[in-house]
């Protein structure tokens, strides 16, 4: 199957998936108790009735769904209840940038450092260097990012005064949140690369290369890295999504004007249009990243056959 045909097939699947997600979220969301009004506690039943009428929230749920969908197709995602008069597209557009930048920086730093650590650990396997790398990986995976964030803030920013405490103003203010978030992908990719690399170094072709006079280092960097990094691309999808969605606490600690907290808050406040928009954004990102990873994978590794529903 050609790449174009494969891509088209995947796009159709993505659209269907998106529709299922939107529909399920819409109906589940309306099962939440409460209403989207800021001072719900103080509203009388009469006032609630007036507001629901004004905002069309007492119409049959199916009618609301169809209306939402019709608006969605024209690109209108509605207006936030919490942030008065603010179209949710503006709301998200204004906040997604910082989250994406932070996520991408953390992913790049984390995976690049992870590859280096993984390769070194594999080359020096069963030595103290390898154990050290394992400790880094275990710590990176088990210490929650917010603990690391608070620690980095206290030591690097408050005590040593090397970097800003919080904010999102220039590049220097992005360093600490990036580091705090980069530990998890660093740990994941280091463990992954080490395993793959050990396999490569113990393979027959590595043996042949060694017989041809190449040193372990040369084999590792020339032949090993590529072969062990390709499978890492599989991990990129889930890692990216984790970083984009999981940065909530780190964003709060470093006062990053990202999207993280908005989502949680919109659920707690029953801010329906925002809940929907954030869900669409995140699931759209997830689908796109998975799609991109699959396509990249097939381009990079010619052995991957583009068939069926994609690689398994």
């Amino acid at each position: 199957m050609g790449l174009a045909k494969y891509a088209l097939r995947r796009v159709v699947f993505m659209v269907v998936t998106m529709w299922v997600i939107i529909t399920a979220t819409f109906f589940l969301m309306h099962l939440l108790p409460g209403s989207p009004y800021v001072n719900l506690q103080k509203l009388t039943p009469e006032q609630l009735e007036i507001l629901n009428t004004r905002y069309g929230l007492n119409r049959p749920i199916l009618e609301q769904y169809l209306l939402y969908f019709a608006n969605l197709l024209t690109g209108d995602l509605g207006t936030s209840f919490q942030f008065k008069n603010q179209p949710v597209t503006t709301l998200l557009a204004g906040r997604v940038g910082a989250s994406v930048q932070l996520g991408v920086q953390a992913l790049l730093v984390g995976t690049s450092a992870g590859i280096v650590v993984g390769v070194i650990a594999a080359v020096k396997r069963h030595t103290p260097v390898d154990s050290g790398a394992t400790i880094v990986a275990v710590l990176g995976r088990s210490v929650p990012s917010f603990i690391l964030a608070a620690l980095l803030q206290l030591v690097v920013a408050v005590n040593l005064r090397l970097l800003p405490i919080a904010g999102w103003r220039d590049f220097s203010s992005t360093i600490l949140p990036t580091l705090a978030l980069a530990m998890a992908p660093l740990a994941d990719s280091a463990r992954f690369v080490r395993t793959e690399m050990v396999e490569v170094l113990e393979s027959d072709y590595a043996e042949l290369a060694r017989a041809n006079g190449l040193s372990t280092q040369q084999i590792a960097w020339r032949h090993g890295v590529r072969n062990s990094v390709i499978p890492l691309i599989t991990l990129l999808g889930p890692m990216t999504v984790n970083l984009l969605t999981g940065s909530l606490v780190v964003e709060n600690i470093f006062a990053v004007p990202g999207i993280g907290e908005q989502f949680v808050k919109s659920v707690l406040n029953n801010d329906y249009p925002t809940i929907m928009a954030v869900t669409i954004l995140y699931s759209g990102l997830f689908l796109l990243v998975t799609f991109a990873v699959d396509v990249l994978y097939s381009i990079i590794d010619p052995r991957i056959r583009l068939s069926g529903g994609g690689r398994r």
Partner: protein, 548 residues
């Protein structure tokens, strides 16, 4: 084959490049210069602003911000008394207390230089009651003639009780006499808007700091919009009529949600004011910058009067008597919360001759475990029970959990046979349960909407929409109705009525007050002159200054 290989390598090499695309960082050269103008302060807020449209604001965070950059007919002084601002003097009130005639301050200007006219008030109010969200602010607009009917869609907007008699005279008609209406006019809901400007902006009005004109002590700058802006400034407004009283050149605001981060910024001298709470208060209450204000928010227990045990006054009195309110705020909470003396916190409302409402009401709430045990024993006999399971509900927060656990302890320990089950749910679930009557007792915090005792006492009115447990006392209703009706235009008689209603409520324990909430913060000791109001737009910087 060879080209394919090149493509593969190029793809691997370009991977980081692709990921980097579109994520340029902001200008790294944009560092803040250290020789900033002297009269500047930086304050940290824990939340973004919901809106900067005065007529759409509901929460106190947005109202406070709006109050720095807009101005209504009056401002409240430190004692919550109205002082003329957009008005030239206090209102002339008709004998029946229903018609207010107000001359405007002719020096008041919009930031584009045009004068603030009576028509700006009339237009803004009529726009406000026509908004989809109007019912959320009915608590304010409801005082104006026909507003409630307009909000409910039963009357046209034109019939709202406000009229510009000429450019600088405003006539307001009320739905009922309201002695504190002048101080209500300091609420952002009653602020003016410039019709020509707002209509010219359409949907863009208030979408960021550039799409608005202001008439307050400061103007808003560098604000990206509701929910989007996380840094902004209040810059001294040169066209403000009282600009001579404004001492700060600018106030920089940063949204910092994590309190520990905000405290780090404060201790390192980067911000001059941060709000703190809970454990941070315990750790920082000896800091020279520690400041605590009593807010107009009371925490209290509400009872389900459809359950026979809670309809029994002795049960409610016994519960109130086992609560050691001083120990609760000083030892259990220890976070700056204040001792509850009733339902109305000190500093909320006062009478010219009688002084503060809370002071006049005294503190009838006592702790007496022996008396409680006697009452409980009698109640058990009257009810024919020897056990009582209490379903105590609250919303999910650290403080609410601490308080309900304390209550569980003292009730179970002293009132033999009681079992208290605590349910702390998310706010929406909590409200669903309480409003539908599925609870035994609830613990809630309730803030006054305006500076009058009636704002809180209204909870106990038999047919109040907020009386979730259906407490009903003819005596309370009579006293409260007198305050809102027969004595509404006579502030001294009204004050007495409300005091009487409050006393009836406490004797009855229709609600059981538990503590008063405080606003606790760290403020640079050199940053002075900030005025705090316990209700509505909390913090005013008009007269704030830096002492060197």
């Amino acid at each position: 084959m060879k080209t394919r290989r090149i493509v593969q390598i190029a793809t691997i090499l370009s991977l980081p490049g692709l990921l980097f695309a579109g994520c340029t960082t902001s200008d790294p050269g944009g560092t803040v210069s250290s020789d900033a103008p002297p009269a500047t302060v930086v304050i940290a807020l824990s939340q973004e602003l919901n809106t900067i449209d005065p007529t759409a604001a509901i929460d106190s965070n947005s109202s406070s911000a709006i109050n720095q950059v807009y101005e209504g007919l009056y401002r409240l002084d430190a004692n919550n008394s109205p002082v003329p601002a957009g008005a030239a003097a206090l209102p002339e009130v008709s004998a029946d207390g229903l018609t207010y005639t107000i001359s405007l301050n002719q020096a008041a200007k919009w930031s584009d230089g045009t004068p603030v006219k009576a028509a700006d008030y009339e237009w803004a109010w009529k726009r406000a009651v026509g908004l989809d969200s109007a019912a959320e602010n009915e608590v304010y607009y409801g005082f104006v003639l026909n507003a409630s009917d307009i909000i409910a869609g039963n009357k046209p907007v034109d019939e709202l009780g406000i009229k510009a008699l000429d450019d600088y005279t405003l006539e307001i008609k009320l739905a009922a006499p309201t002695t504190f209406f002048a101080s209500l006019l300091a609420s952002v809901s009653f602020f003016p808007l410039n019709e020509a400007y707002v209509t010219s902006q359409g949907d863009k009005f208030g979408s960021d700091s550039e799409h608005a004109i202001y008439n307050g002590p400061f103007v808003l700058a560098d604000y990206a919009g509701p929910g989007v802006g996380t840094d902004w400034k209040y810059v001294k407004n040169p066209t403000y009529w009282d600009a001579a009283s404004v001492k700060l050149d600018s106030i920089e605001v940063r949204v910092i949600k994590e309190t520990s981060t905000a405290v780090n910024l404060y201790t390192s001298g980067e911000v001059d004011q941060v709000a703190i709470s809970g454990a941070q208060v315990q750790a920082l209450r000896n800091d020279p910058g520690f400041t605590a204000y009593t807010t107009a928010t009371a925490a209290f227990l509400g009872y389900n009067f459809n359950i026979p045990a809670f309809a029994n006054v002795k049960v409610r009195q016994a519960i109130s008597l086992v609560i050691d309110r001083a120990a609760l705020v000083n030892n259990v909470l220890n976070d700056g919360s204040a001792l509850a003396t009733g339902l109305v916190p000190a500093g909320l409302s006062s009478d010219q001759t009688r002084g503060d409402f809370a002071t006049a009401a005294g503190n009838p709430l006592e702790t007496d475990v022996d008396k409680a045990k006697t009452l409980w024993a009698e109640a058990k006999q009257e009810l024919g029970i020897d056990k009582l399971e209490i379903d105590l509900q609250t919303f999910d927060s650290d403080r609410m959990r601490t308080v309900t656990q304390y209550l569980q302890n003292v009730i179970q320990e002293n009132l033999v046979g009681t079992t208290v089950t605590i349910t702390a749910s998310p706010v929406a679930n909590f409200l669903e349960n309480t409003k539908s009557g599925s609870f035994g007792i609830y613990l809630v915090t309730w803030g006054a909407d305006y500076a009058d005792a009636s704002s809180l006492l209204d909870l106990a009115r038999s047919n109040s929409g907020s009386n979730w447990g259906h407490y009903s006392s003819p005596e309370f209703d009579a006293a409260f109705a007198a305050a809102q009706g027969a004595d509404a235009a006579d502030s001294a008689a009204r004050f007495d009525d409300l005091l009487q209603a409050h006393a009836i409520l406490l004797a009855d324990q229709g609600y059981t007050p538990v503590y008063f909430q405080s606003s606790t913060l760290l403020r640079n000791p050199e940053f002075k002159g900030v005025v705090f109001h316990s209700a509505g737009s909390n913090t005013e910087y008009k007269t704030a200054y830096i002492e060197r």
